[in-house]
């Protein structure tokens, strides 16, 4: 049994080479990530030459940047197996190859994002020379692989790209890697960022706002190092009304789909005996009973959760499990009486999957939300609330057709088709799942939003 501490590709190669040439099986080697690299004993460092394909070596170098402890092990296994099975990499269905491809594509994506999102700030030194500085925080350790791009693009500028893992410095046509300087010594602004932000603001077509597409390609974790990101909130606000309009159109489409599905299921027995006999979707098969809303039918405020949980499914009443207790506490702090409200769920049956001996909640699909909207709409038209509080993303989707995060939807003013106003907040179970520090903050938000609902309803 051998073990080695490595933290970068060249070190791994130095250790792996002799082990591979002596045929050490992957199970006999333990790789650890560490700062204290020690080369192997000299007796092991007289290897016979190895024949590894260029493609494999490139792949190994790429996945060595993937921030996960298992990488060194996987790299060794791939090399070891490739020596015995030369066409291994062609088989993308092999679990090792598949994992390696996944890791490589994550690393390559991060390199690409580095090329895209590094932002230089200009500084003029005492000699009047212009220098360019960037601070970038990559998900994987891609500095070394990402930096040659900048050498080719800006060979005649002096620049520095600093990351938490190390820093690249380009001066007089030479690239060096140095210790990362104190972040506070880097420039905090650039005189031309204002122009760039003006461009960013004006090139955006707010009549077709599409935040999910933006977030998919430019995840929020990059925003803090992008000067243009300060414009995002304003643009979202400007575009919000048109976005909400399109959400409603999307909802119409969803409803049309649900209706189409209804027709498709028309030949199934439906005794139309209320939600308990509902066969609009398939969740009912594994649930105990439909859990209907309850409370005052002349309530000003209607609370909508996602779906009944384990306990609710058994008891047949909404919000009586752990999440219900969190909700009750929050209502009390916000000055609301549960008896004055109408409390229900977007989906009336419990959807779950087995996990050990427990039934684990499973989020309802959009089609299931759409199918169940029939019942929610009936409740809304019966109760005619002034305010509908959507608890969590499923409720938000069911009530308003929005797929926003709660964080952003809380800021919106959302009208409901019935004329009621929608207030969006976190689901009490999000508080149960959050770590203690976050839980307190979420709880405060929940109470604030409930209080806001109370004020709006008054």
């Amino acid at each position: 049994m051998y073990s080695a501490c490595v933290q970068e590709f060249t070190q791994w190669r130095e250790v792996a080479r002799p082990l591979l040439s002596t045929g050490t099986v992957p199970e006999d080697m333990e790789w650890k990530l560490g700062r204290h690299f020690e080369p192997l004993a000299p007796s092991l460092t007289a290897p016979t030459p190895l024949r590894l394909s260029r493609q494999l070596i490139e792949l190994l170098e790429t996945i060595s940047c993937y921030r996960h402890d298992g990488r060194w092990d996987l790299m060794y296994r791939l090399a070891w197996r490739s020596l015995r099975q030369p066409h291994l990499l062609e088989d993308a269905a092999d679990p090792d190859v598949h994992r390696a491809m996944q890791m490589a594509s994550a690393v390559n994506r991060e390199i690409h994002k580095m090329h895209a999102f590094v932002r230089f700030r200009e500084m003029t030194d005492e000699q009047g020379e212009k220098k360019y500085f960037a601070w970038f925080e990559p998900t994987h350790q891609v500095l070394r692989l990402g930096v040659p791009f900048f050498c080719k693009r800006f060979p005649n500028m002096e620049w520095m790209i600093a990351t938490p893992d190390g820093t690249a410095l380009w001066r007089n046509g030479e690239l060096r890697f140095i210790e990362t300087p104190d972040k506070s010594t880097l420039p905090k602004a650039d005189a031309h960022e204002g122009l760039w932000r003006t461009y960013y603001r004006n090139i955006c077509n707010v009549s077709r706002i599409n935040p999910p597409a933006m977030r998919r390609e430019m995840p929020q974790r990059y925003w803090r190092n992008l000067p243009e990101s300060v414009e995002i909130q304003t643009l979202l606000r400007d575009g919000q009304s048109s976005f909400a309009q399109r959400q409603r159109e999307a909802m119409d489409l969803e409803l049309a789909k649900a209706r189409a599905m209804q027709r498709a299921l028309a030949d199934l027995p439906d005794h139309s005996g209320g939600p308990s006999a509902c066969r609009r979707c398939d969740i009912w098969r594994h649930a105990t009973q439909a859990v209907l809303g309850e409370g005052s039918t002349s309530a000003f405020i209607m609370l909508v959760g996602e779906q009944p949980g384990d306990e609710e499914d058994l008891r047949g009443r909404p919000f009586v499990g752990p999440a219900g207790r969190v909700l009750d506490e929050a209502l009390k702090v916000a000055g609301l009486e549960r008896g004055d409200l109408y409390v229900t769920n977007a989906v009336k049956h419990f959807k779950w999957q087995p996990r050990g001996k427990r039934r684990l909640h499973q989020r309802p699909a959009a089609s299931e939300l759409a199918a169940c909207n029939h019942w929610l709409d009936a409740e809304v038209s019966q109760v005619k609330p002034r305010i509908i509080v959507a608890l969590g993303v499923s409720a938000l989707r069911a009530v308003a057709g929005l797929t926003d995060s709660i964080e952003s939807a809380r800021q919106l003013q959302i009208p409901h088709a019935s004329g009621a106003q929608v207030v969006c907040t976190y689901h009490p179970s999000a508080i149960l799942r959050a770590d203690p520090a976050n839980a307190d903050q979420l709880r405060t938000h929940l109470v604030d939003d409930l209080r806001r609902a109370r004020e709006l309803a008054a």
Partner: protein, 406 residues
């Protein structure tokens, strides 16, 4: 007027052009000692705006003054908007300033038509020339070509630019006649033809022929400003691809503009329609679908908004399924809903080493939600092969997807 105000006006005026690609240029980089910039062949999107579009190039108009009065265009001469004009030097400086800070891949410069076509074209070419010759700029340049500009100016534009484009704007001549009475489809097509000829010359002449627009040409077509059906849009697209060797066509959902004409709809078409058109376009270009086959994916001339066109086609051709992923050739695999080009490459490479099972397809990245109805593997056959296409369609849309567009 200060630079920032001009930038605000002339970026705003340019945003209805959907094109943003910075791909297709040959690999090149700046020489030590002078200049800056590089292209890798792949485009880079440097930022994304809340409309979900990428910011790759500095996309601006040289000026939004315009002689024409095209009803669908925000910059038409009767439009009541602030007007501005950049000098060529201002555009050059702005491009270099943004490029140096790694904000952009390069410049996409277009313009309203002022004085004459040639005068306008000269201004655009001058910007590109200054960047290339005086600043040794090696980044990406996309120039709009003005119909009826002289061949010499088009040749000069192609010498400096990586890509040229002329916008066809509307899918039919009738629509163009109604909405842009001063434009002629003939002169637009002629301009595209001119570029096509020069691209051919370069292709035939090899290294000795002068450089000409290495990333080819593209165009844009506005969707939903007129009554044209999806079928007639795809027919136009097919004609354009075949006639002018376009790299790609951009489909841009019409944005209703304030104080619009009674001839135009006051409502934007669903963005899903734009998305489905791109999917249909992809089927023609990357999935070996002929226009005739595509028409089977557009019953009544319309693309189905709830189901993608490949699935619609497959539902109309059930007799060709299920396809055995272990034996089918590439062309057959390309027709299976839920299998993309990259997944198919992996299937073909992987099946040399193993008999593919259902689980393997998951690993290879297939979208089984759709594919499972149309494939068989070593251990799997679809159970519902006797189910009607209509029933299958309903089953497929009950699991909605691509919500991201909304």
């Amino acid at each position: 007027m200060d630079l920032e105000t001009k930038l605000a006006i002339l970026a705003d005026a340019a945003k209805y052009d959907a094109s943003c690609a910075s791909s297709g240029a040959p690999k090149r980089s700046a020489a030590p000692g002078k200049g800056m910039g590089s292209t890798t062949g792949m485009g880079i999107c440097h930022s994304y705006t809340p409309d979900g579009r990428c910011v790759s190039l500095l996309k601006i108009l040289l000026t939004n003054f315009c002689l024409y009065d095209c009803l669908y265009c925000i910059n038409r001469r009767s439009s009541d908007i602030p007007r501005a004009r950049f000098s060529a030097q201002e555009v050059v400086d702005l491009t270099l300033c943004f490029y140096r800070r790694n904000y952009i891949e390069g410049l996409f410069l277009s313009s309203g038509i002022i004085r004459t076509a040639d005068y306008t074209m000269e201004q655009l070419v001058e910007v590109a020339r200054t960047l290339r010759e005086e600043h040794e700029f090696r980044g990406y340049i996309h120039l709009k070509t003005i119909p009826e500009a002289s061949p010499e100016l088009v040749a000069a534009a192609g010498r400096y630019a990586d890509r040229l484009s002329v916008n066809i704007e509307l899918p039919t001549r009738e629509a163009l006649t109604t909405l842009a009475p001063e434009k002629s489809d003939v002169s637009i097509k002629r301009a595209m033809g001119e570029i096509r000829l020069k691209l051919d010359e370069k292709a035939d002449g090899g290294a000795k022929a002068p450089r000409f627009s290495p990333a080819g040409q593209s165009t844009q077509l506005i969707v939903g400003a007129d009554e044209s059906s999806d079928a007639s849009i795809m027919e136009t697209a097919d004609t354009l691809y075949r006639s002018y060797k376009l790299r790609r066509i951009y489909y841009s959902a019409f944005s209703p503009i304030q104080r619009t004409s009674a001839l135009l709809p006051n409502k934007a078409p669903p963005l899903m329609r734009e998305h489905r058109l791109y999917q249909a376009d992809w089927l023609m270009r990357y999935y070996e679908f002929s226009l005739g086959e595509l028409s089977q994916a557009m019953p009544g001339g319309k693309l189905d908004l709830s189901v993608d066109p490949k699935t619609t086609w497959a539902l109309a051709n059930r007799h060709q399924f299920p396809v055995d992923v272990n034996t089918a050739d590439r062309h057959q695999l390309l027709r299976v809903p839920g299998l993309g080009v990259r997944v198919i490459d992996r299937i073909i490479s992987s099946r040399r080493h193993r008999k593919l099972r259902y689980e393997d397809l998951k690993t290879l990245g297939a979208t089984l939600k759709r594919a499972r109805h149309f494939i068989c593997t070593a251990d799997y056959r679809p159970q519902q092969s006797d189910r009607s296409s209509d029933g299958l369609r309903h089953a497929l849309i009950s699991a909605p997807e691509q919500q991201s567009l909304f």
